[in-house]
Symmetry: C2
């Protein structure tokens, strides 16, 4: 007998299973914030639910409560003052371990069903969560809704589908009958139990508190583990709402709510201590290299899935649609003011210029044209504020200042501060575009997170491809791009990306951008270069999160 | 068009794929060394081929040759004097990297086909390889044939099947078509390339030079990596023959033979340097904790699959077949003189005795009866030498002496030296059985590799189960056993093994032994306790050995 929630969501799960196998377009959760889909009052309800969170303690009935933390400040400059309960990490670990046997007992089917119910509930609360994402991260509304809501939910479902698939491959039992010639066969009954590895710690980032959290959360949960979610101290609310919804679904279904808990803290040492806790078996982390390297160094024997810094880059050899290319790049660099782990930082352009239908466009002209394209795209303040969002951290503001000072290269396009009509205190900035020589590696060959991009002069296309490969190998990247009209150049770049192990987008001039990654179809990260040691999502992302424990006896 | 070798071996691969899904009995390679199966002259041919290796240089045309090493000495006391070419590790790494693109290009189908051809060729050479295993490890002939030949080949095929299955789940390409309302859809063509992670290093052990080497070798090879095999310095020949066969098959099929190379050395620092080489992406290791811990500590960022020490144990609560139980345990403890990573070391017996059809048998009586059963089983020298084989290392001989001196507990049954009629210099020893209190943890709660077993007095069955769980958690184990007639005891022990993550055998009194593990059906190791961080074989054993690199463009 399968779990009722498995039956309820079977069609959705089958859709996801088919999608990860065929990798065409598919989505379980509508990405348009349409009243027709989400209900006429959904937007108002979501906004009201968000508002109701502000200025008070966030209700979350967890064990080991010891006080509250209220560490968020909105990039849009609005007061938040949400106080989250802080809990003794040992109490969360103990409660998680205590909850695991019941979670194991309902099996992979039951776990998948419960996870899909949680995702369905998250989807219905997309407006509330999106508002929380927007106000804590500085994302524009549409991105906050899509990436923070349905796209994040799709990434969660994708992880559940992979987790379910790998567990479903393990038969619950078998009869093993070995012939013994003329003697009776040896016969054994064997049972195979899927067992979670222990408590999973999922550490979120400040820019995508749901999109980068749901894959680890749902991969670990669906494979039988208890999960402690440790959000970024400035983006707790989206995670807190998500955790509360998960706990509600668990409790409503007779399961221990402590399978999913929130560890809110703004003390890094507390997170480090929890990461080193012997009962913590896996850690999912999205964020900077300093903490990532600390995890690699200090959490040996645990599974660490980390997405860290990188230097995403694009090689331009030529194009048959110069304006389309510039428009595409202008949007890529502007979206959320470059505060995406997939945004291009370095654009390699041959010293001799690039091929276009109108002939060679020289290096300096390409840089200037790209600057002009960005400027033009962001000329309308309504477009600019919607696309750029607000700057999430003071560190990013400081990087914009450093770039503006010409320290990293010649300024092609200066960053501008834009007034946000609705949020006067919002820190809205346009991208700064620099140009420099390939040899200025100290400037451009380090992640400059935020709206700072470099047009880098390289000897020729071959040198650009070689440089791209080296950057990916040494510094990591989640995305690289290529513009060319030459099949041989495509082949050379393709081979380079096989060696450096990075996803390649070729000749994007329309409505798809290099920094976009679609669940079920695009592997986000390959796990094969320093930017990430795992991918959203594949078998490797889930297969090591559970163990198979067998027993056998004669029958 | 599929690869001809994929077509040739398709039936075998399908059999293996079905077997790992259903986990019933299956085998691709006949385990009986029968002339009917392997040919009338197979045994003589194998012996002759082995003899032809002795006293000369082993022909292996590898790059970077710099000299030879001849480090093996036979536990059977026969002269070996095989000189293996030693090669510059950098040359092996470079050659492996150079060979990988061609290996990538033939795809998962082609790689599976070539791996199956290698396994088929290994199978046909089973007598030669078995003789090499026997003479380098001290295994008895039948074990050397079965575990060193067909069973090892089955474990290799099992790894290929898992590797193929996970790669086959990745579509080569997809069309992604995203609706855009009334506008034309966004359409992209996407390609997904399976890429090996880099050079794989597979480090073998001295006791099972093929059984513990083939899983890592074939898992890494089938997933697109070049493999360097570093055999134990005293069991090089079985690996060298295997590597040579693999190289022959590769070359015959127009592939670069340097995809599989042998790194023969008796200098641990050389192995360590190679393990730390940046191009080495994964390491498979079977052996002691000292080197295993060094790998965990020093090879961060690489995938390490390690099988280390453990304290396998059995809980005896009661039995309805006392004699059958004693016979089964006597064989378990005698087989290859306990030099198996799966052999029981500690047998937990309640102080109040165990339940049998004839009433309670007291603790001391159980120990004495087990000693007598071992003595009786090994009374016939022909049986004894066939089952025990010879002691593989001086360290193991020293452990027998320490045990005999009563340092670790009271001697219930002393170890005896047995003369081998065929090999007068062979070090053949019977097991030493000790008894001690549970509190004597310093004696029994550490791996005593070889024919040293402890009957450990515990308060009662509940204490025995709790102690078994703790030992597995703290010291690791590949196997635990249970004897009981009480369903509640089975349930309690089952739950304990779920927590400690170890395979359980219940009430073995016939022809299956706790230290036996059948490919395709029994998971060897769970990867969830300190004895091993991976299992032969499951999805987790293969899924992280390759990466998926995608490219996408509009169509």
């Amino acid at each position: 007998m399968t779990h009722p929630l498995f039956d309820k969501h079977r069609t959705t799960l089958d859709g996801a299973l088919n999608a990860i196998r065929t990798r065409g377009y598919w989505s379980a959760y509508p990405e348009m914030p349409s009243p027709k889909t989400y209900g006429e009052t959904a937007q108002a309800d979501g906004k009201a639910a968000f508002d109701a969170c502000l200025g008070r303690e966030f209700a979350l009935d967890q064990p080991g409560r010891r006080g509250t933390v209220a560490s968020e400040s909105s990039p849009y400059g609005i007061p938040l003052h949400v106080a989250y309960p802080t809990c003794d990490p040992q109490a969360l670990v103990d409660a998680g371990l205590k909850a695991m046997p019941g979670w194991q007992a309902i099996g992979a089917d039951g776990r998948a069903g419960v996870c899909l119910e949680i995702l369905d509930r998250l989807n219905k609360r997309s407006f509330e969560i999106a508002t929380a994402v927007m106000m804590t991260t500085g994302q524009g509304w549409m991105m906050a809704f899509q990436a923070g809501g349905p796209h994040a939910q799709d990434r969660g479902l994708e992880a559940v589908a992979h987790a379910y698939k790998e567990q479903a491959e393990v038969p619950a039992e078998a009869v093993w009958e070995k012939p013994q010639g003329k003697n009776p066969p040896l016969v054994m009954k064997k049972h195979f139990e899927v067992v979670g590895r222990g408590v999973a710690l999922v550490i979120g980032c400040g820019t995508f508190p749901t999109w980068n959290t749901y894959p680890g959360l749902f991969a670990a949960l669906a494979t039988g583990n208890a999960v402690i979610v440790k959000p970024h101290h400035n983006a707790i609310l989206p995670a807190a709402i998500s955790v509360r919804i998960a706990r509600e679904v668990l409790a409503e279904n007779g399961l221990d709510a402590n399978l999913v808990t929130l560890f809110a803290t703004d003390v890094p040492a507390e997170t480090q201590a929890l990461a080193k806790h012997p009962a913590v078996a896996s850690i999912d982390f999205t964020g900077g290299n300093a903490f990532g390297d600390w995890l690699y160094e200090n959490c040996r024997g645990k599974q660490v899935y980390a997405e860290l810094a990188g230097v995403n880059n694009i090689v331009i050899d030529g194009t048959d649609n110069y304006k389309g290319m510039l428009r595409n790049l202008a949007f890529t660099l502007s979206l959320y003011a470059g505060q995406m782990c997939t945004t291009t930082q370095a654009i390699f352009v041959p010293a001799g210029g690039i091929d276009t239908p109108d002939g060679k466009v020289p290096f300096d002209q390409v840089a200037a044209d790209l600057g002009a394209a960005i400027d033009k795209f962001l000329a309308d303040p309504a477009v600019a504020t919607a696309v750029l969002g607000a700057i999430q951290s003071g560190d990013t503001l400081a990087r914009i200042e450093t770039a503006a000072a010409g320290k990293w290269g010649e300024v092609v396009l200066a960053s501008k501060k834009i007034d946000h009509p609705e949020f006067p205190a919002a820190e809205v900035r346009t991208p700064v575009l620099l140009k420099c020589a390939a040899a200025d590696e100290a400037a451009w060959m380090e992640e400059r997170f935020g709206p700072v991009a470099f047009v880098v002069e390289v000897a020729d296309t071959a040198a650009a491809i070689a440089l791209s490969e080296r950057v990916v190998r040494e510094r990591g990247a989640l995305t690289v791009g290529l513009y060319t009209t030459q099949p041989a150049v495509v082949d050379a770049m393709t081979a380079a990306t096989w060696r450096s192990k990075v996803a390649l987008s070729i000749n994007l001039t329309g409505g798809v951008f290099v920094n976009q990654s679609a669940a079920y179809s695009d592997y986000h990260g390959t796990g094969g270069n320093p930017a990430a040691n795992a991918s959203y999502a594949d078998a490797a992302f889930v297969a090591n999160r559970f163990r198979v424990v067998q027993r056998r006896y004669h029958v």
